[in-house]
């Protein structure tokens, strides 16, 4: 028989922590419309779907327009510009959580593409510091050389990613678009 008093937790004892590392593995089939988008990226092209009803352009294509709730197909495919305007941005100040490799503040921007339109979010900015990024800034894609392009990071869950093929976006040096013209395009 053990002494029951030994089981009573000392209220003044320090709190004991426990590390429990777990990993989950996912192996996803890339859906057909994203597969086409990824193949186009390897060729140095951005493609999207234009909704036949409202005209909004979705990049990457999703296979539907969520506004009009209609399906879109290859017939709605359009080639997109690889230049555009920064509509919104976030400066991330990295904290050293597990897996975070960045140590210095960096910007992630949304780019509204020139005609026929479409928008990509969470894009990297090249050649300038995070503190120089601004809404209305004109930018162009910096493509990786063809031999170095890969679509390893393109998946169904990475809407808008061009990682592996577009390294980021650099300022074109053209005059900014007035920021208030972007106010209904913030996302």
């Amino acid at each position: 028989m053990s002494d029951a008093s030994q089981d009573v937790v000392d209220p003044n004892a320090p709190v004991v922590g426990m590390d429990y590392f777990m990993s989950l593995h996912f192996n996803e089939i890339i859906c057909p419309v994203v597969r086409r988008y990824a193949d186009a990226l390897l060729e140095g092209k951005l493609i999207g779907h234009r909704c036949p009803k409202c005209g909004l352009v979705y990049a990457p294509p999703r296979g539907y327009c969520p506004i009009d709730v209609i399906e879109t197909t290859d017939a709605d495919e359009v080639q997109l510009a690889d230049r555009g305007v920064v509509t919104n941005y976030t400066v991330v100040t990295p904290v050293a959580y597990y897996g975070q490799e960045a140590t210095e503040p960096f910007a992630k921007v949304s780019v509204q593409l020139d005609e026929p339109g479409g928008a990509l979010s969470l894009q990297d900015v090249l050649e300038i510091g995070a503190d120089e990024v601004r809404v209305g800034m004109r930018v162009e894609a910096v493509w990786a050389p063809e031999a170095e392009r890969n679509i390893d990071e393109i998946g169904n869950r990475s809407w808008g990613s061009a990682e592996g093929c577009i390294r980021g976006w650099r300022p074109t040096g053209e005059p900014d678009v007035p920021a208030d013209q972007m106010s209904d395009k913030a996302f």
């Binding site: 426990m18 429990y20 777990m22 990993s23 989950l24 593995h25 996912f26 192996n27 996803e28 089939i29 859906c31 057909p32 999703r62 296979g63 539907y64 969520p66 506004i67 009009d68 709730v69 399906e71 169904n156 869950r157 809407w159």
Partner: protein, 351 residues
Amino acid sequence: MAGDIAIIGYAQSPSWRAAELTEPQFLFPVITEAIERAGIGRRDLGFTCAGSCDYLSGQTFSFVMNLEAVGAWPPISESHVEMDGAWALYEAWVRLQHGDIDTALVFGSGKSSPGVPSEIFPLQMDPYTITPLGADPVSLAALQARAMLDAGKITEREMAEVVARSRRSAIGNPHAQVTGDHDVDALLGEPYLTAPLRRHDLPPISDGASAVVLATAGKAKEVCERPVWIRGIDHRIEVHQPGMRDLTTSASTRMAGEKAGVGKAAVDVAELSATFSHQERILCEALGLDDKVDVNPSGGALAANPVMAVGLSRVVEASRQIADHGKHRAVAHATSGQCLQQNLVAVLEGD
């Protein structure tokens, strides 16, 4: 209280071992079909509630993307449960009781194929004492089946008979994934996967979705020729730690069944989320269903198991028995957690 709520539309996707389409992509036609079948406009919906799981899809806020299949602009009133769509139906049923809206859309969806169930599901368990053991659904269900066998509540032959009957019933069901005519002796001749379970005692790994449209009594009578009435619905949960309850019975199913009024009249048909073969016996006993009840005419969860939709699909299949096959009174059951930890029971009737 708005009184009785009716199911006026429903639809299911096929059940795929590994869907090529994304979750919102395959939800898209399912939701559209359910709304069209209900005979109302998408903009008429007063409320939308979804059930899905970020852990299955491997993405935070994946349910937000699923809303793209609904048509959420201009903004709609919606909610989400990190549970099977059957619990989303429960929330919508409660919401309709307020009486200020008259219709609601409910859907459940999931892709089990990209992940590894034996990695994901232990995370449902107690994180200190059980998850680190790697207690996955098959291992826990095997312990439950062993307890059933030891208690003399079922035999391995009876388990195989459930499988044979379910797969045979599923023949011709376009939403079923595993179908076929099987000899019970042949099934018993197969090796154990995790004793005492053989592979066929397990559900398939499935991707899929289902959707239901609900309406208040007044609206249902206005737009629907053969509404399916929800006469009772209840859900109950038991203790998290599976070692602290009798796994050979289901007190929560029994209580939910009593509250939903299962025993008030004869039951024609039951669609039960018996994800493992031996669980059908536990559920029938807890709900007081005898041999006269047609159990899982769709083939049930042993024929198609799109996690997060499979419970709502039981409601769809039970509704179909009433609306299309002339049955009068049906029971639909959904479960959550391991070894039937949490259970929802709905009693459905035709006019």
